[in-house]
């Protein structure tokens, strides 16, 4: 087995363990109500950080500029989501905006 396969084995273990551990412990340990409430914020907390990082950080630096097509697409997607609350429409607006910027159709 070469190095890449060993890397895959290691990655498999290291991605599985954090996903599995809390599920394995469910029912065996008591979760305090405050923690349950805190965990309800997880999707907003994590996904927002991913979104902001991917939209604003380009090549290792914050880029607020019309040249940052990710940012323009994200802002329009954000407005769409706010007004429509519709997932598919948000994705379509974001992708069309990005493509238009990229291909410099205007």
């Amino acid at each position: 087995m070469n190095d890449y396969w060993w890397l895959i084995v290691a990655m498999t273990a290291l991605t599985f363990i954090p996903r599995y551990l809390p599920l394995a412990l469910a029912g065996k340990i008591h979760i305090p109500p405050l923690l349950v409430q805190a965990l309800e914020f997880v999707p907003i907390a994590v996904l927002t950080a991913i979104i902001v990082q991917a939209s604003l950080v380009r090549d290792g630096a914050i880029l607020v500029s019309t040249e940052n097509h990710y940012l323009i697409a994200s802002v329009l997607a954000f407005v769409t989501a706010l007004l429509s609350r519709h997932l598919m429409l948000t994705i379509v607006v974001g992708l069309v905006t990005f493509s238009v910027c990229r291909l410099q159709l205007f």
Binding site: Y4, W5, L7, I8, V9, A10, M11, T12, L14, T15, F16, I17, P18, R19, Y20, L21, P22, L23, A24, A26, G27, I31, V36, Q37, A38, L39, E40, F41, V42, P43, I44, A45, V46, L47, T48, A49, I50, I51, V52, Q53, A54, S55, I62, Y70, A73, S74, A77, F78, A81, R85, H86, L87, M88, L89, T90, I91, V93, G94, L95, F98
Partner: protein, 244 residues
């Protein structure tokens, strides 16, 4: 209902609810496949990573670090840290996981992704299902996500050979706008907004921390602020109720 092991209707429903996110993940998977093969992984190694690791961002980070000739233990550690957010996801599934047999939680863990979690978190919040119902829904969403990821990796490997500059097209934007479509409608209270704004501000201050640790830091800070605002609002509401 109680004798039934699996709810086919909810399985289909899960698969259907995740479809918009599947569409958004297609370019992501294709770019991963293209990148992996362009960096010299064999087809089976590139495929193997998708089949066994099945974690989009980790796979991207791994191939990016391979390109910068990082040591393999460094790559493995980075992958581990980046995936700690899945531990938060899994922890938030604990109350419902209690009702699911231990062995069945193994595929649940293996197929836990940002996308599957985003879809099931909505379902979980609405508290519509018992353990079995939730499990059927979860597996429907997660399984189709997995199969799609394999197909897209394969397409990426094949097409990437013929179109080498595909990795610069910015196809990953699809995932970003999909997450926006998930998060924004879930911002229903002041506490939710406080959480989101904290997360955004913190990640802008910490994006250059090594190994994506800023992502974890920002998430934890945002959760703490969310809870504080929620508690404060509950206290104010109680006080008002007493005065009235």
């Amino acid at each position: 209902m109680s004798g039934k092991r699996f709810d086919g209707g909810l399985f289909i429903r899960g698969a259907r609810d995740i479809l918009p996110l599947i569409l958004a993940a297609i370019p992501f998977g294709i770019v991963y496949g293209a990148m992996a093969q362009s960096l010299g992984l064999t087809h089976w190694e590139a495929m193997g990573m998708s089949l066994f690791v099945f974690a989009g961002s980790s796979q991207f980070i791994a191939v990016t670090l391979l390109a910068s000739a990082a040591a393999l233990p460094v790559i493995a550690m980075t992958v581990f840290i980046v995936n700690l957010r899945h531990m938060l996801y899994a922890a938030s599934l604990m109350p419902v996981a209690e009702k699911i047999p231990a062995l069945l939680r193994v595929p649940m863990a293996f197929w836990l992704t940002d996308e599957a979690y985003a879809v099931v978190a909505n379902r979980l919040r609405a508290k519509l299902d018992d353990g079995k119902g939730f499990y059927s829904y979860y597996i429907g969403a997660a399984l189709i996500m997995y199969l799609n990821w394999q197909l897209c990796t394969w397409i990426g490997i094949t097409v990437g050979e013929k179109v080498p500059d595909m990795t610069n097209w910015g196809l990953d934007v699809a995932m970003v706008v999909a997450f926006i479509g998930i998060v924004v409608p879930s911002l229903q209270h002041t506490a939710h907004w406080a959480c989101a704004v904290t997360s955004a501000v913190c990640i802008l201050l910490t994006y250059d921390w090594p190994h994506q640790t800023g992502l974890l830091f920002s998430s934890v800070m945002a959760i703490v602020v969310g809870i504080i605002v929620l508690k404060q609002q509950q206290n104010t509401a109680e006080r008002r109720a007493i005065h009235e």
